[in-house]
Structures are given as C-alpha cells and as structure tokens.
C-alpha cells in the first residue's frame, strides 16, 4: 500500500470517529458552537479544517443526535448551543463500548511483541 493510500484510510477512519468525538464533547453540558469547533480543532490530528465540523453538526442535528438552542450572550449576538439528545446519548454509549473493544484488538495486533502475533 502506498503512503498516500494509508493517509486516505486514516482520513476515512478519522471521519468515522469524528462524529462520536463531537457527541463526547457534548456529554455533560450544552456547548457553544464556536467553542465546540475550537476544542475539536485543538485536538491534534482530529480535523484539518474547522469549517468542515459545521456540516457534520448539521447532519447530527438532522439525525436527531444533537439539538440546538439559542442563548443570550453578554458580549455580542445570541449564541447557538449544541446539546446531546437521548438518542445521541445512546449512540455515544454504544460507540464507546464498541470502540474500547476495537481499540484493544487493534493495539494488540499492532503491538510488536509476541502477544500480537497470536
């Protein structure tokens, strides 16, 4: 496999995981859209352009996993806050369980020691 193809696979993987990272950031409290995008943008290797998170948020809202509310702001115009819905919560829980199994399996296979060869 060429390095370019590897990068492409990683892009696909990142794209698949990104929406659950968005849900995870909303787990506790509603988050202001700008802050949400910034927090994801600050995570290394997560997103290459912050602007692409908005279409993702839009899809998650259409799927009913997140909801939006407007809240007054002290410094400027009203702000759009994103919150996790019940079905979003369920999706996140399911993904968290599956991900920990997946991650452990991949780590074991990638590990260079003898256990990985089994």
């Amino acid at each position: 496999m060429e390095p370019g193809e590897t990068r492409n696979s990683l892009t696909q993987l990142r794209r698949g995981v990104l929406e659950y990272c968005v849900l995870a950031l909303l787990r506790d409290d509603p988050v202001y859209g700008f802050d949400l995008v910034r927090r994801l943008g600050d995570v290394e290797g997560m997103v290459t352009s912050e602007g692409t998170i908005y279409p993702l948020l839009s899809r998650l809202r259409k799927e009913g996993w997140v909801s939006t509310t407007w809240q007054e702001s002290e410094s400027g115009p009203p702000r759009r806050y994103y919150a996790l819905t019940d079905s979003g919560q369920r999706a996140l829980l399911l993904f968290t369980d599956e991900w920990s199994i997946f991650r452990t399996s991949v780590d074991r296979l990638l590990a260079p020691d003898k256990r990985g060869k089994r």
């Binding site: 859209g33 700008f34 352009s49 602007g51 692409t52 279409p55 899809r59 410094s75």
Partner: protein, 288 residues
C-alpha cells in the same frame, strides 16, 4: 485600520463561501453560510480578529470554502440516496394476471392495462401474458370446471344390483387435471420470465436521487407496521387500509419502502381472496 481590514477579509471569505455553496441545495447553503458567519462573529467577539494576522489565522483554521462545501456534499449521502427504479408496473401486472385475477374480470383487465403500458417489456411478453390464459386462471379454471363434468345416472335392476352409467362432458380426464394445473401455473411462469426481464431493464435505468427522510419512526410508522402485522388478527380488512394510509402518509419512509409495504399488503390479501373465491365459486359454478 486593522479592524476594517479584518472585516474585509471576513467579507471576502464569506463571498467566496457563498459562490462555492451555490452547488448546494438552497436550505443547506443558507444554513452553512449562517453557521460560518456566526463562527466569524464569535471569533471577532473573542478578540481573535483584532489584527489582520489574527483574522487570517481564524480563516486558516476554518479552511478553504471549497473544502467546507465539499464536506457538506460528503455528508449528503446520508440524506440523499440513489435509488434504482423498481419495475412497479410490471410487478402489478404479474400480480393481477396471476393471483389478482381472483377479482374476476376486473383483476385480469387491470393486469392487462399494467402489462400493455409497460415500457420495459417486449411485445412478445405482452402477447404471451395476454393470450396464455385469457380471463386469468381464477376465471378460466372455473369456466372449464363448469363445462367439464361427469354426469352419472343410477338405475336399479330387478335383481337388486345397482348399475351406474357415467358420461363425461367437456375435456376428458386425465387431461382435464393437467389443463387445470397448467392454467394456474403457466401465468406464474410467464410472469416470472417477464419480471426477470423487467428487473434487468430497470437495472440499466438511471438511478433517481431520493431524499432519505432522516426522521426516526413516529406514531404513524408504528401504527402502519402494527396494523399491517398484528392488525391481521384483529380486523384484517380495516387494519390493512389504516396501515396503508399511515404508511403512505409517513414522512420517515421513502416511496420505495412504501411501495414494498403495499406489495406485501397486496400479497397478504391473497389467502383471503382465495377463500372468498372458493366459497363464491362453489355457489356460482356449483354443479347440480
């Protein structure tokens, strides 16, 4: 000065985004532009765009407008799906020319209308479907039964032994049995051939873009499903009608899914139609 130039930088960015977003549906384009404009306003409120360099960094992090629009299009496959056309007309023809002919003359004629208006079937299939079993199996077979019967007369002789004389009218057995069987089986065989042809043609047709409803199942979808499944055991006819009404009113199901639900409903009606047919034909065509 720097504030003005930041505004200019942002305005320029938004106008590039607007022109890139023209390829998107109007609502998606408006939504995206609103969100990005809000993001820029938030960056400005946070003091990140106080300098030209600051404003450029905000845009650098946001990414190229084309890339953002491309990401909207990447998200689209979940809301828009390409659906291969379903040969619905041919499916209906197949149904009405076989089981549907139970609705005596009307069912068969409906089948002919669907068959002859099909653009996917060759003339050969249309002629074969029409002439093979005229009037449909469920009308032709009883007519043959009515015309072919065995009449027996019993006469008793003086010795006490009864003698019975039977005369068979119409088609003679055992050919009669074979003929009846053929009348029921042949239309199904022909239907399977022209359905295969129709599906093959449909596969080559251009797929249609269908907006997949992303809404989850609501009371309407639940009622449709329950009515068309459990409803059978409560009020078969009425529940089916309610189920179909709910299914077609649903905004969460695509037209294809609704068509499939309707086809299943039509097929599930068949046993009841056969029952009605058997009892009514016993009365209408009953032998003396």
């Amino acid at each position: 000065m720097s504030t003005i130039s930041s505004d200019q930088i942002f305005d320029d960015y938004l106008s590039r985004l607007r022109s890139a977003a023209q390829s998107l549906p109007a609502d998606q384009s408006a939504e995206l532009i609103d969100e990005i404009a809000e993001h820029l306003a938030a960056a400005r409120a946070a003091g990140e765009a106080d300098t030209t360099v600051g404003a450029l960094n905000v845009l650098e992090r946001l990414g190229d407008p084309q890339a953002i629009v491309a990401s909207v299009q990447r998200e689209v496959p979940d809301s828009v799906v390409l659906e291969r056309p379903l040969p619905l007309r041919e499916l209906l023809a197949a149904f009405f020319l076989t089981f549907g002919s139970i609705l005596l003359v009307v069912g068969w004629i409906a089948g002919l209308v669907f068959l002859w208006t099909s653009r996917r079937l060759s003339l050969w299939y249309k002629v074969a479907g029409t002439l093979l079993v005229p009037l449909g199996p469920y009308l032709l077979a009883p007519i043959l039964v009515k015309m072919s019967y065995t009449e027996c007369t019993a006469s008793s002789s003086l010795g006490g032994a009864d003698t019975q004389t039977c005369v068979h009218h119409g088609v003679q057995p055992p050919f009669f049995g074979f003929l009846l069987m053929a009348i029921y089986i042949a239309p199904m065989l022909v239907a399977s051939f022209y359905l295969r042809a129709a599906f093959r043609v449909a596969r080559t047709e251009a797929p249609r873009a269908i907006v997949r409803p992303t809404r989850e199942w609501g009371p309407l979808e639940l009622t449709a499903t329950l009515s068309m499944t459990l409803g059978w055991f409560i009020l078969p006819g009425l529940c089916l009608v309610i189920g179909l009404c709910c299914a077609w009113a649903s905004k969460a199901w695509t037209r294809r899914e609704k068509s499939i639900a309707t086809a299943i409903a039509a097929l599930s009606l068949t046993p009841i139609l056969i029952l009605v047919f058997v009892t009514s034909s016993a009365t209408i065509f009953g032998r003396n």
